[in-house]
C-alpha cells in the first residue's frame, strides 16, 4: 500500500487526528499536517530526501493538546528522536503513530541507519580553513595536536551569527526556556556569542540527547561542523555511560544517580 493510502486510512479510521508529513508546493516540499478537513491535500504528499524535524511539530502540538493523536512520517532519525522524546516525557508513545519510510538516500533497504551514512560533502573553503565535515573525529584527534584542535574550533565558532538555527531545528530541544538566551550567561547583542562557551554549553546540553540527525549542521548558515562536534559528544556518552540516545526507551544516564560507578577519577597527569 502506498503511503498516501495508509495516511488516508489512518485518518478515516480515527487512528490519528493529524498526520505530519511533507507536501509538494510549487516544486518544493514543505512540512504539512494532514487532517480529515484537508484530505484533498493528500495527493501532494511526497517523500523524498528532504527533512524537517516533524517530531518537534508534534511536541508543540502535544503541548497545546495533550491527547492529540498524531501520525508522523518517520525515517530512522525521526524514530530515534521520538524514542528520546518519549523518555523525556515530551510525547507519549500511545498518542504517536509513526509510519516508517526508507532512509535517505537508501532506496534498497527499508530500514537503514542513517547514522552510518556519509555526511554531506563540503566545499573547498572548509577543507582548507575549517574542519573537514567528513573527517572522522578520532582521526581529527590524531591528526591535530591540542593547540591545532583548539584554534580550529575557535575558528569554526567565531563564524557563529547566533541565529539559534541549530537549536530551533533540533528535534530534541524542547526546553521552554533556553539557557542560551539567559542574559546572565550569554550577553545579548554580542557577536559572535562568547566563544567557545556558547557552543560548549549547547554541546553539554546535547550530551545524552543528541540523536545524530544532522539537521543542525544542515541548518547552520555559517557552516559550523556541529554534527561532527556532537558525534564526538555521543561517542563519549556511549563510552562513559554506555548509552546511545534514542536507541531505545532507556532514560538518559545524566539523570540517574547512585548507579554503580566502575570508573576511577583520573590521575592528574592523565
Amino acid at each position: 500500500m502506498n503511503i498516501t493510502k495508509q495516511v488516508e486510512q489512518l485518518l478515516k479510521q480515527g487512528d490519528v487526528d493529524i498526520f505530519l508529513a511533507y507536501r509538494e508546493l510549487d516544486g518544493h516540499l514543505i512540512p504539512h499536517g494532514y487532517t480529515l478537513d484537508n484530505l484533498e491535500d493528500l495527493e501532494n504528499l511526497k517523500v523524498s530526501q528532504h527533512r524537517y524535524s516533524l517530531e518537534k511539530v508534534a511536541t508543540h502540538l502535544t503541548e497545546k493538546k495533550p491527547n492529540l493523536k498524531i501520525g508522523i512520517v518517520a525515517r530512522d532519525c525521526n524514530q530515534r528522536a521520538l524514542n528520546l522524546l518519549y523518555t523525556w516525557n515530551q510525547l507519549s508513545p500511545e498518542n504517536i503513530t509513526p509510519l516508517m519510510v526508507n532512509c535517505c538516500p537508501s532506496q534498497t533497504r527499508n530500514h537503514s541507519d542513517c547514522t552510518y551514512l556519509e555526511p554531506k560533502k563540503t566545499g573547498t573553503f572548509k577543507q582548507k580553513k575549517g574542519i573537514d565535515f567528513n573527517e572522522n573525529p578520532r582521526e581529527f584527534m590524531d591528526n591535530n595536536d591540542n593547540g591545532q584542535r583548539f584554534s580550529r574550533w575557535m575558528y569554526e565558532f567565531s563564524k557563529c551569527i547566533k541565529c539559534y538555527g541549530c537549536r530551533n531545528i533540533c528535534p530534541v530541544c524542547f526546553c521552554t526556556d533556553c539557557s542560551l538566551e539567559n542574559p546572565d550567561l550569554v550577553e545579548p547583542g554580542a557577536l559572535p556569542p562568547e566563544i567557545p562557551i556558547f557552543h560548549l554549553v549547547r554541546a553539554t546540553h546535547m550530551a545524552g540527547r543528541c540523536i545524530d540527525c544532522g539537521l543542525c549542521e544542515d541548518a547552520c548558515p555559517a557552516e559550523i561542523p556541529l554534527r561532527f562536534l556532537y558525534r564526538e559528544m555521543n561517542r563519549i556518552v556511549s563510552d562513559v555511560f554506555d548509552y546511545t540516545p534514542g536507541a531505545g526507551l532507556e532514560k538518559s544516564p545524566f539523570t540517574i544517580i547512585g548507579n554503580e560507578v566502575t570508573l576511577e577519577p583520573r590521575p592528574m597527569d592523565a
Partner: protein, 939 residues
C-alpha cells in the same frame, strides 16, 4: 539546647529510684573560663611545657594548656594541673599574660554538683587493652611496635605524622615501612596472659581496614599481613570488605604468634609464629601493629559497682538478651561497650535503645523541663532596597594578624548596597552579638554580611542573632576569610588581604540579592505504623505505646511472633518461647496498639509527620494516618541446595533442629554422632555475606547434645568460628566439653553421602593432614539467612535495599536505624541477620528515633528548598530522577515538576541538572550565584 554538657565531671554517688534519682557529681577545675575562651590558641603556643599527647596515643606531644584535638567540643582550652608549671611550681604564668580575653583563672576550684534526674544512662565506653605486660610482644621495647589505636593516629591526617605512613622510629619522618604485620587477639580470647577470655568483636574488622588504608597511604608497594585465629567479620558488608582486602593483596595468615622481637642486627622486627599446619616459621617486618582488645576501665568498674550494678566476670554490665540496655538497677540503663564489646553501629543502636528505655518510665513528664525559644516578630524587608551591614572579624589575631582588617573594612564600605561596616575583635562573642542586634535595629540594616570563619560552625549562631534582631534568619551571608584565607595564606599577608576583599565583595554581591525565606509548620500525627509483628516489631510497638503514642501493627501472617516462634533458647540459655508469648500478651493487653493480622501495606502517601498508608487485610482495606513508620519485616532461613538436604531425613537446618528440641523428639536421644556444617550457602560468590547468628546457634545446639549425653560425638565443620563478643565463652565451653572443631575452606568443602539410616560426612583435618569420615545420625546445616522480598514495601515507603535484599540504612555507622527517607525507620533482621538481643536493641532504637519525630508538635518545612518555575519547566522529569529524596513529583495536570518542601533537603541536584534552569534553590538561586561568580571575576 536541651543538653547541658558537664565536662571534667565525674559521678560520685547516686541515690533514689527510677523517676526520682539524685546524683552527686564533682566537676574538676578547667582553670580556663569557658565563657571567655575563644580558642585562639595563643596560650598553647606560648606554653613552655610539653607533655605526651594521649589523643595521639603518646606518639606526639601537646602542651600543658591544650584542647584534646582541633575539632573538640567544647572547643575550649584546659590546663592540665599535673603538668602546668604555675599550678605545680607557681612559675611561668605565660598563658595568663598572653590570653587576649582574660580567660585564664589559676584559682579555679573543683565544684560539687547535685542533679535530680528521672533515669541514668551509662555509656562510659572502654579502654584499649595495654599490651605492655605481654613480654613476648615486646611492646614498648621498639617504637615500631604500635597498638591499633596508635596506628590509627599514624594514619590520621591530624596525627603526629600528618597522615604520612612512616616508621615512628625514624625521627626524620622519612623512612616508610615495606612490611607491616597485624597481630590479632592481643588482650582478647586469651585467658592465660590477659584474663580477657571474650572476643573484642571489632579488631578483625579494624585490622582489615587499617591494612587497606595503609596500602592506600603507601607510595611503594606495601606487604600487609594479618595474623589471626578466626576472621570475625560478621557485620553488614564486612565480608565483602574482607574479600576486597584479599583481592588487594593483604595476606591473611591463620596462625598463633609465638614472639615478636626487635632484631638488634637488622634493626627491624622478627616474628615467630606457628602456621595452620603446625609448622614454626619466622618472618621479618618493619612495623607490627597489635590489634588490642577492648576492656572496662577501673573507673568504669568503680562507677558501676558503686551504683550497685551487677557486672559479669569480665567486668561488662550484666544484661539479659531480652533487655539488652537495662542494668540490674532499675532506672539505670547502659549502652555501648560497657555492656559488652561491640562496634560503632551497634553502639549507636544501643545508645538510641537506651534513650528509649530510659525515658519510658518518664513519659508523663515529657517536655516539663525542656526549654523552647521565644522569637521576636520579624520585620518585613522583602520589598526594601538592600541596606547591607558588613561585620569584619579579627578573630583575635587569627585573621587580624595576617589580613589588614581596616583595609578590608574600608573596601567593604565602598561596595554597592553597603551602608554600615564594623570591625570586631571576635564577632562571635556574646557581647558582640548583643551589639550586633542593636546595630541592626538602629541602623535599619536588612542584609548582613559577616566576614569571619566558616558558616559550617557559625552560620547558625549568626542566624540566631538575626532572629533576635527581628530579621529573617536567611538574610545573612558569610565570607570565610579565616579558614579559606588567613590560615592558608599566612605567609603572604598582602595577597591574603586582596583575597579577603574578593571574598567580601562576593558575599556582598550575593547579600544584595538575598530574599527572606519562610518556613511553614506542619502538624505531626502523633502515632506510628509498625510493619512486621516479629520480636523486633512487637518490641518497637510496645516501646512507642509506653511512651504514650498509639501504634498500628501490621503483620502479614495470621499470628504474631515471626521467627521468634521457631527459636529455642538464646546463647545465654534464656528460653525464647515464654518471652515471645509474653510479648504477644503485652501487645494484646495494650489499649494503644491496634494489630492488623493477615494484613499488608498497599500504598503510602505523604511524608514525615503526615503519612497516609493504605493497609489491606483479608476482609477490609483501611487508611491509616501516622507520623512515623517502622519497618521490621524480618528475614528467613534459606533451604540448602547441597549436602543431601531434602534427600535424607538425617539432614536438617538449625531451625528444623530447634523444632525437634522443642518437640522433644526421640531421634535426639538416640543420636550418637552429630555433625554441624557451617556457612551453608553463605560467604560464597553468590551470597558473599555472613549470616552472623549461625556459629553461635550451632554451638549452642551442639552443647545441647553434649549436655544430654556427654558420649555423643559432636563435630562442627567451620570456616571461621564467629562467636563474637562474650559469645566466645560458649565456644570455649564447647571445646572444653569435647566438641570437635574442624576448619574447611571453600575449595575443600565436606562431602556428604546419604546412607541407609545415617549420612556419611567426609572432610579434611588440616593438622593431621588426613581425610576423616563420620557417619552422622544427625547432620545439621547452618543455612544462610535470606532477606525477604521487600520490593513493594520499599517502593511504597521510598526506601532502598542492597543487592542482597537487606534494607539500606541512612548511614552504616552513624544512622543504623534511620532510612534516608525522613520519618521511616528500620529494625530487626530486615536490616541484616542478627541475634535476638541485637534485634531488640535495634527495635528500641528505632522507637527512640521515631520518638524524636513524634514528640514534636510540628515540623518546620521550607527555608532552603528548591522551587520549580512552572513557566520554565518542560516537564522532562530530569529533576525527578536526580532527586535522592524523592521530593519532586510531576503534576499530571500541568505537566510540570513540583517540589515537596517537607521532603526537599536543599541539595540543589535538580537545579544543577535542569537545562532550562526551572528549579532554583532558595538562598542559592542562579541570580545570586551568577552575581557571586561575576563579582569574583570583576577585578
Amino acid at each position: 539546647m536541651n543538653i547541658e554538657l558537664l565536662t571534667l565531671t565525674e559521678v560520685t554517688a547516686i541515690s533514689g529510684q527510677e523517676g526520682d534519682i539524685t546524683a552527686t557529681l564533682v566537676q574538676h577545675p578547667r582553670y580556663v573560663d569557658t565563657d571567655k575562651c575563644i580558642a585562639c590558641g595563643l596560650c598553647a603556643e606560648k606554653c613552655p611545657k610539653k607533655v605526651p599527647d594521649e589523643y595521639n596515643e603518646g606518639l606526639g606531644k601537646r602542651k600543658a594548656i591544650y584542647v584534646p584535638y582541633s575539632q573538640a567540643v567544647p572547643l575550649k582550652y584546659t590546663i592540665d594541673p599535673n603538668n602546668c608549671l604555675y599550678l605545680t611550681k607557681e612559675r611561668c604564668g605565660l598563658c595568663e599574660t598572653v590570653c587576649p580575653s582574660h580567660a585564664i583563672n589559676y584559682l579555679d576550684q573543683k565544684k560539687e554538683i547535685t542533679l535530680n534526674v528521672g533515669s541514668v544512662v551509662l555509656s562510659t565506653g572502654f579502654k584499649s587493652f595495654d599490651p605492655s605486660g605481654l613480654d613476648h610482644l615486646s611492646f614498648g621495647k621498639h617504637p615500631d611496635i604500635v597498638t591499633s589505636m596508635g596506628f590509627e593516629r599514624v594514619l590520621s591526617a591530624t596525627g603526629p605524622q600528618g597522615g604520612h605512613l612512616v616508621l615512628p622510629s625514624d625521627k626524620k619522618h622519612k623512612k616508610e615501612p615495606k612490611k607491616i604485620a597485624w597481630l590479632q587477639c592481643v588482650g582478647s580470647r586469651d585467658e592465660n596472659r590477659s584474663k580477657n577470655s571474650y572476643c573484642s568483636s571489632v579488631c578483625c574488622m579494624y585490622a582489615v581496614k587499617q591494612s587497606v588504608m595503609a596500602m592506600d597511604h603507601s607510595k611503594a608497594p606495601l606487604d600487609c599481613a594479618i595474623f589471626y585465629m578466626d576472621m570475625r567479620t560478621q557485620g553488614k558488608d564486612f565480608d565483602t570488605y574482607l574479600e576486597k582486602a584479599k583481592d588487594n593483596g593483604v595476606r591473611f595468615v591463620r596462625s598463633r604468634v609465638h614472639t615478636v622481637m626487635p632484631d638488634p642486627h637488622k634493626g627491624n622486627l622478627v616474628m615467630t609464629y606457628v602456621d595452620e599446619l603446625g609448622a614454626l616459621k619466622t618472618e621479618y617486618f618493619d612495623m607490627v601493629v597489635l590489634s588490642t582488645g577492648l576492656e572496662i576501665s577501673a573507673d568504669s568498674f568503680a562507677l558501676a559497682t558503686g551504683m550497685g550494678i551487677e557486672l559479669d566476670a569480665s567486668n561488662f554490665i550484666n544484661t539479659n538478651s531480652f533487655n539488652p540496655v537495662s542494668t540490674s538497677m532499675p532506672g539505670i540503663y547502659a549502652c555501648g561497650v560497657f555492656t559488652g564489646p561491640k562496634d560503632i553501629p551497634q553502639s549507636v543502636m544501643e545508645a538510641s535503645a537506651a534513650a528509649a528505655a530510659a525515658t519510658e518510665g518518664l513519659a508523663v513528664s515529657r517536655n516539663t523541663l525542656t526549654k523552647a525559644v521565644v522569637k521576636p516578630k520579624e520585620r518585613e524587608v522583602a520589598e526594601d532596597a538592600p541596606k547591607i551591614g558588613v561585620f569584619v572579624c579579627n578573630c583575635g589575631t587569627n585573621i587580624g594578624g595576617i589580613v589588614d582588617i581596616p583595609a578590608v573594612a574600608a573596601y567593604a564600605a565602598e561596595l554597592p548596597g553597603v551602608v554600615y561596616v564594623e570591625e570586631n575583635l571576635f564577632t562571635c562573642s556574646q557581647d558582640t552579638q548583643d551589639k550586633m542586634v542593636e546595630v541592626i535595629r538602629n541602623k535599619g540594616l536588612n542584609r548582613i554580611v559577616v566576614a569571619a570563619c566558616t558558616p559550617k560552625t557559625h552560620e547558625e549562631l549568626f542566624r540566631e542573632t538575626l532572629i533576635d534582631a527581628g530579621l529573617n534568619k536567611y538574610l545573612i551571608e558569610m565570607a570565610n576569610i579565616r579558614n579559606q584565607d588567613s590560615w592558608v595564606h599566612s605567609d603572604e599577608p598582602e595577597k591574603a588581604t586582596t583575597k579577603a576583599k574578593d571574598l567580601v565583595r562576593m558575599a556582598v554581591a550575593k547579600a544584595f540579592r538575598l530574599a527572606p525565606l519562610f518556613e511553614t509548620q506542619l502538624p505531626v500525627s502523633p502515632s506510628a505504623l509498625v510493619v512486621g509483628g516479629g520480636i523486633a516489631g512487637m518490641t518497637a510497638a510496645l516501646s512507642l505505646s509506653r511512651q504514650g503514642y498509639p501504634v498500628t501493627l501490621v503483620e502479614k501472617n495470621q499470628h504474631m511472633g515471626g521467627n521468634g516462634r521457631q527459636l529455642c533458647k538464646t546463647w545465654k540459655n534464656e528460653e525464647i518461647a515464654p518471652f515471645v508469648k509474653g510479648l504477644i500478651a503485652d501487645i494484646e493487653a495494650d489499649g494503644q496498639i491496634q494489630t492488623l493480622l493477615g494484613a499488608t501495606v498497599e500504598s503510602v502517601e505523604g511524608f514525615v509527620g503526615n503519612f497516609k498508608t493504605t493497609v489491606t487485610s483479608v476482609d477490609k482495606t483501611q487508611l491509616i494516618d501516622h507520623g512515623v513508620a517502622l519497618i521490621a519485616t524480618g528475614a528467613v532461613e534459606s533451604k540448602p541446595t547441597e549436602y543431601a538436604y531434602g534427600q535424607h531425613k538425617a539432614v536438617m537446618t538449625l531451625l528444623e533442629l530447634d523444632a525437634l528440641f522443642m518437640e522433644k523428639d526421640t531421634r535426639l536421644e538416640k543420636a550418637m554422632e552429630v555433625v554441624f556444617i557451617q556457612c551453608v550457602g553463605s560467604r560464597d560468590k553468590e551470597h558473599p555475606y555472613c549470616s552472623k547468628v549461625c556459629c553461635t546457634h550451632a554451638i549452642k545446639s551442639a552443647m545441647a547434645f553434649k549436655k544430654k549425653n556427654p558420649d555423643t560425638g559432636v563435630y562442627v565443620l567451620y570456616r571461621d568460628i564467629r562467636t563474637y563478643g562474650q559469645r566466645e565463652t560458649l565456644y570455649r565451653e564447647a571445646r572444653k566439653a569435647g566438641i570437635l572443631f574442624f576448619q574447611y575452606d571453600l575449595d575443600s568443602k565436606p562431602v556428604v553421602t546419604p546412607g541407609e539410616n545415617r549420612v556419611s560426612v567426609e572432610f579434611t583435618d588440616t593438622i593431621l593432614g588426613r581425610r576423616l569420615c563420620v557417619d552422622a545420625d544427625i547432620l545439621c546445616l547452618s543455612a544462610r539467612i535470606d532477606a525477604r522480598d521487600n520490593t513493594h514495601l520499599s517502593q511504597a515507603f521510598k526506601v532502598t535495599a542492597d543487592s542482597a535484599g537487606w534494607l539500606l540504612e541512612a548511614h552504616q555507622k552513624l544512622r543504623p536505624v534511620d532510612f534516608a527517607t525522613d520519618g521511616v525507620f528500620l529494625c530487626g533482621m530486615s536490616h541484616y541477620p542478627k541475634p535476638v538481643d541485637e534485634s531488640i536493641a535495634q527495635a528500641k532504637a528505632a522507637a527512640a528515633r521515631a520518638l524524636t519525630v513524634l514528640s514534636r508538635n510540628s515540623i518546620n518545612v521550607g527555608g532552603i528548598v528548591a522551587q520549580i518555575d512552572p513557566e520554565r519547566c518542560a516537564g522532562c522529569g530530569g529533576c525527578v530522577e536526580v532527586c535522592s529524596y524523592n521530593a519532586i513529583t510531576m503534576d499530571p495536570e500541568r505537566e510540570v515538576a513540583v517540589v515537596n518542601d517537607a521532603l526537599c533537603k536543599g541539595c540543589g541536584a535538580c537545579a544543577a541538572t535542569c537545562p532550562s534552569e526551572a528549579p532554583s534553590l532558595m538562598g542559592f538561586n542562579n541570580d545570586q550565584l551568577y552575581a557571586q561568580i561575576k563579582s569574583a571575576l570583576a577585578v
